[in-house]
Amino acid sequence: MKRLFYILGVLLCSTTAAQAGIDEAINSATAPIATLIGQIVFFKIPVFGAQLPVVVLWLVAGAVFFTFYMGFINLRGFKHAIELVRGDYADPNSHGEVSHFQALATAVSGTVGIGNIGGVAVAVTVGGAGATFWLIVAGFLGMSTKFVECTLGVKYRNEFEDGHVSGGPMYYLRQGFSDRGMEGFGKFMGTFYAIGIFIGALGIGNMFQSNQAYVQLNNVSGGALDGLGWLIGLILAGVVFSVIIGGIKSIARVTEKIVPFMAIFYCVFAIIVILMNANTIPTAIGNIFDGAFTGEGVAGGALGAMIIGFQRAVFSNEAGIGSASIAHSAVRTDEPITEGVVSLLEPFIDTIVICTITALVIGTAQVAAPDFAGEAQGVAMTSAAFEREFSWFPIPLAFAALMFAFSTMISWSYYGLKGWTYLFGESERGQTIYKLIFCAFVALGCVVQLGPILDISDALVFLICVPNILGLYFLAPIVKREMNSYFDRIKSGEIKKFK
């Protein structure tokens, strides 16, 4: 901690010119690396004139498969998910354990991040209004993927002797394959995933978040923070440091309690803004449907819009990445299916509700004033759309963005750490090394431009979802069997409501 302040002090002493130079220097050094990683991982196949990244195909194919294979569990299980979260099936004797609601809330605050505010703006800028349609479709399909991975997360979690639990894809990959007589392959997959999540945590759950939080802060301060990305980065890194290494858990606890209210606050105001532009709603919705199938004015046409929509949806709700199953696996239940059913709500809240609302705020603003955002992109664009109605809104939005970014970073530092401890054991020293690396990337995220950040983050997501989805295909029959048995017992009345 001291050392961090020392570095901060030294950096503060340098001149303003040099300050601007730091941002640029780091930026120009990392951009080519990002582009290279992006090119390798984001191998694209040309399809009818559009560039289809393999990763998107991989995730969407998985989501479509699980939706059909599980017989549209995303629709069928929805009502039951709400009953479970409400506690209708909660045994009073297990009170005091992690409830379905708590696991869902924690997982949601990990996924509701900058992607819901800034990522949607990116989608609309690059993929046109039609991207919104595909974003919603992807959210809907993603519910099935989530269902499979969260069920497996609980089923194969690891309970340590002292009673604490650790679960997630690395455990279900290892154990699941081993149960099917492929022990060696299971070990390989578990390790592959653990490496993926601990490196991947540095992108989606780290650099992208801190980058966009900085952009919005700079935005509301009228550009006063231009070139000071490194400073904001260090401050953010300092706060993250104090929580994950300094053990100041109260900060994380407070954030965890503020985030749900910020999300509600954000949605309420977004709906007000949309309603204030009520006359443009039909055109905005019309544009979404038109764009989805004609892809007017978008590179790659309708397919281009589709790809962008899917890509941003996955980035936001994390279905197929397996991260949420780490958070969900803490629930104590005899029926892993229940947690899978509850997790259906996650892409629903994150993508179908929050992302759609953001898209409509931007969409209605675009109809009223096509050039409302000027050069602004990402979170700044969303902010501009709100600003048209409420001039003061960018300030609470900046605060909300900061909170979302922060809670997502804290959650992801935990996910990454689980990957790390899976690989290197629970040694304190090793964990501290990982946490230090994590903090360094928080700072770096504020300095690098959005483009390269997205490239790296997307690329790393790919790295995580390859082993995960591959494993899900193999283990899906187990989930299906449990699912059928569970719903049969609900129907026969063997599993009863307590309320």
């Binding site: 009073p92 696991a103 924690t106 965890e256």
Partner: protein, 144 residues
């Protein structure tokens, strides 16, 4: 079947006085005692992933602590006075859980200590004894 009296204990002085009053009552009516410790807990709260991971462990230790420091020490003295005693530790909303326990154990009377919270505190968080008095199907004695 003898009558049962439920006493809410939380280690506070008020709850000890409630136990005192309940013991007198139990002797006069030759009733059995149920000592209940309710740990305030809501299934609808927000936690970090780390807190979730440790939740099961924490729950066990909370129960252990309630038993060791509050309930168990009372048992010997009460049994020496010839009373039959049961103990129970439960997580949940305090008033609601006490009523559930009263129902489960078929008690005929509830004793609870008055916490004497400030007016502001009561205004915001409500009062356990007031909630109990309002909703209980059996008589409730609030001991000051």
């Amino acid at each position: 079947m003898s009558n049962k009296i439920l006493v809410a204990l939380d280690g506070s002085d008020g709850s000890k006085r409630a136990l005192g009053a309940a013991v007198t009552h139990a002797k006069l009516t030759s009733s059995d005692l149920v000592l209940a410790y309710v740990i305030d807990w809501s299934p609808y709260s927000f936690h970090t992933p780390e807190e979730l991971e440790e939740r099961h462990q924490r729950r066990e230790s909370e129960i252990q602590r309630a038993n060791d420091s509050v309930l168990t020490p009372e048992i010997a003295a009460l049994e020496a006075q010839g009373l039959k005693v049961e103990t129970v530790v439960h997580h949940g909303k305090i008033a609601e859980t006490l009523l559930d326990l009263a129902d489960q154990h078929g008690v005929t009377q509830i004793y609870i200590g008055r916490r004497g919270e400030s007016r502001m505190h009561t205004l915001i968080f409500g009062s356990v004894s007031a909630a109990l008095v309002q909703t209980s199907p059996v008589p409730v004695t609030v001991v000051p």
